[in-house]
């Protein structure tokens, strides 16, 4: 081996981190177009690999065996779980992995704060800020994971909750301030600070309804990015600063886009009681009743229609019905029925969730329309087929100012000549709001599991 001077090692490390930062940005850029998206993640992956490997040559490090064990366990567990998880459950896995990133940022801060090293006051401030944000993202993401995984069913709410949250935040800020000023920076105050920060993540996330989780996960994603950037300043690590900041700003914009798609502000998502079954539906006079239909009758309607618009929702994902839906679509297309898919920006648990599933089934892009493109077309559609979607087609968003979803843009399925809704039962949707669409005169309910009901429809269409 050639003689290895610390200067050479440092140069090589810096060059590798620079390369990683460039690869991350190129990768993300490529991921923003369907043509290059797959290449993008590979480039970013190479960047990560290079940065991780070169870090082993960092000067004056020890604890290598334990470090390898930690990388082995954490990496393998996440790799295997990520490979195994069903497409439907992707959103909560993103929440989980994101939470882990936040936790790692908080852990870095803890080691730096507990370590005897003397830092400048600005560095300690950034460490404390990153620790606060990272801890909130960690515990908050775990709650988001629990909610989407069905481990936590009810939003937890009580009177004066926001006051409590503000008090926790203030206490955490005071504890953080004491660490920064350094007069009492003992281990006790560090423990108190982290406990308060973790608690804040819990109490902030618990009251938010499951329907809002996509926005919340996106927000925590941005927060983790910011926490990573702050800890990057503490460690003087340019790759962490750049990657963290890029994710922080991109994630913030993405969160805004998602909140906007629901016609709500971020503050409204975080601090309102949306998605609460208790307040939903109050004061709504429901006219009519839900009218069931047999799959054969529904099949006739679609087989002899000129134009069918399919509106998929989370129910389709749960039932794994996307392949059957595409099969049905192909049958209808062969019969010269015009078929289009209408995707609401927040259908499913994440923006683009439905697109991913339909792409998996092989539905070509040119059949898929988003909200602005398709809404004018419902009037000319003979059948609007709603599969497992609920709030995104609820006309109460237009007609009932008392409804929690009032003002949210919806797919105007009610304008179609006939509406067929595939639904497991008569219950309310994920957000717990009664759907006026289901009670309209020209709406028929096809009860059953999304996949089974679609299979029945396929059989029915085939017989004609």
């Amino acid at each position: 081996m050639i003689a290895w001077s610390p200067e050479m090692a440092d140069k090589l490390i810096q060059a590798s981190y620079f390369l990683a930062a460039v690869l991350f940005i190129i990768g993300l850029k490529q991921m923003s177009s369907p043509v290059t998206a797959r290449r993008g993640i590979v480039w970013a992956g190479i960047g990560m690999l290079v940065a991780t490997l070169i870090t082993f040559s960092w000067p004056d490090m020890h604890n290598y065996p334990l470090m390898l064990v930690a990388i082995g366990i954490g990496g393998a567990a996440a790799w295997i779980s990520g490979k195994k998880v069903a497409m439907t459950d992707m959103p909560q896995m993103i929440a989980l992995y994101n939470g882990m990133g936040g936790g790692a940022a908080a852990a870095i801060a803890a080691v730096e704060l507990l370590g005897g090293e003397q830092h400048e006051i600005s560095i300690i401030t950034l460490a404390v800020l990153g620790a606060l944000i990272g801890s909130v993202s960690f515990s908050g993401s775990l709650i988001a994971f629990g909610k989407l995984q069905g481990l936590i069913r009810k939003p937890l709410r009580f009177k004066g909750q926001q006051v409590v949250n503000v008090l926790i935040l203030l206490s955490a800020a005071i504890a953080g301030g004491m660490i920064v000023t350094g007069h009492t920076a003992g281990i006790e105050i560090v423990i108190v600070f982290f406990s308060l920060a973790l608690l804040l993540g819990l109490t902030m996330t618990l009251p938010i309804g499951g329907a809002d989780m996509p926005v919340v996960i996106s927000l925590y994603n941005a927060l983790t990015g910011l926490a990573v950037a702050f800890e990057g300043f503490v460690l003087q690590n340019a790759a962490m600063i750049i990657a963290g900041t890029v994710v922080g700003s991109a994630g913030t914009l993405l969160t805004q886009l998602m909140a906007k798609a629901m016609n709500r502000s971020l503050a409204n998502v975080l601090f309102s009681d949306f998605g609460d079954a208790d307040i939903a539906g109050d004061g709504v006079d429901i006219q009519g009743s839900m009218k069931p239909i047999e799959s054969t009758d529904a099949g006739v309607m679609m087989a002899f229609a000129d134009k069918v618009i399919i509106i998929p929702g989370y129910g389709m994902a749960v039932a794994q019905a996307q392949h059957k839906v595409w099969e049905l679509t192909q049958l209808l297309l062969e019969r010269k029925v015009q078929v289009k898919f209408a995707i609401h920006p927040v259908a499913g648990r994440m923006p683009g969730h439905m697109n991913v599933l339909l792409a998996e089934a092989g539905v070509p892009y040119d059949l898929i329309r988003d909200l602005d493109e398709i809404n004018a077309e419902f009037e000319t559609a003979d059948v609007a087929l709603v599969i497992g979607a609920n709030d995104v087609v609820n006309p109460a968003a237009h007609s009932d100012p008392a409804s929690p979803i009032y003002g949210m843009p919806i797919l105007k399925a009610e304008k179609a000549k006939n509406i067929i809704v595939i639904k497991r039962g008569q219950g309310k949707g994920f957000s717990g709001i009664e759907n006026l669409l289901f009670f309209l005169d020209h709406t028929r309910m096809l009860y059953g599991d999304g996949q089974a009901a679609t299979a029945e429809l396929i059989q029915a269409v085939k017989t004609f």
């Binding site: 991921m31 923003s32 004056d60 993103i94 994101n98 990015g225 792409a359």
Partner: protein
């Protein structure tokens, strides 16, 4: 050393870069892109390794170990999930 105004410049330019990248993204790529950016902040692993590598007391080593474990999970899980999602886009394009 990265400090003072150099740090601020890096921060500002990186922030604009992130904003630009996502500004023109079609809705269909929002989920994969969120997942992709989730992977990118897995770079926290590198920092956790350095923090653990410099840790001396048992407590520091334990916290460092947790940090490296979590960071590795973020990076590995983020990559797998993003890759699987984007894989589907590829197949749907080719079948067209």
């Amino acid at each position: 050393m990265i400090d003072g105004f150099i740090a601020l410049y890096i921060f500002m330019l990186a922030a604009f870069t992130g904003y630009e990248i996502i500004g023109k993204v079609p809705v269909i790529l929002h989920t994969p892109l969120m997942s992709g950016s989730n992977f990118v902040h897995g770079i926290v692993l590198v920092g956790a390794m350095v923090a653990m590598g410099r840790a001396d007391t048992t407590l520091e080593i334990v916290i460092g170990f947790i940090g490296v474990f979590l960071g590795a999970g973020n990076a590995a899980g983020g990559y797998v999930v993003t890759e699987r999602m984007l894989e589907m886009f590829k197949s749907s394009r080719e079948s067209k």
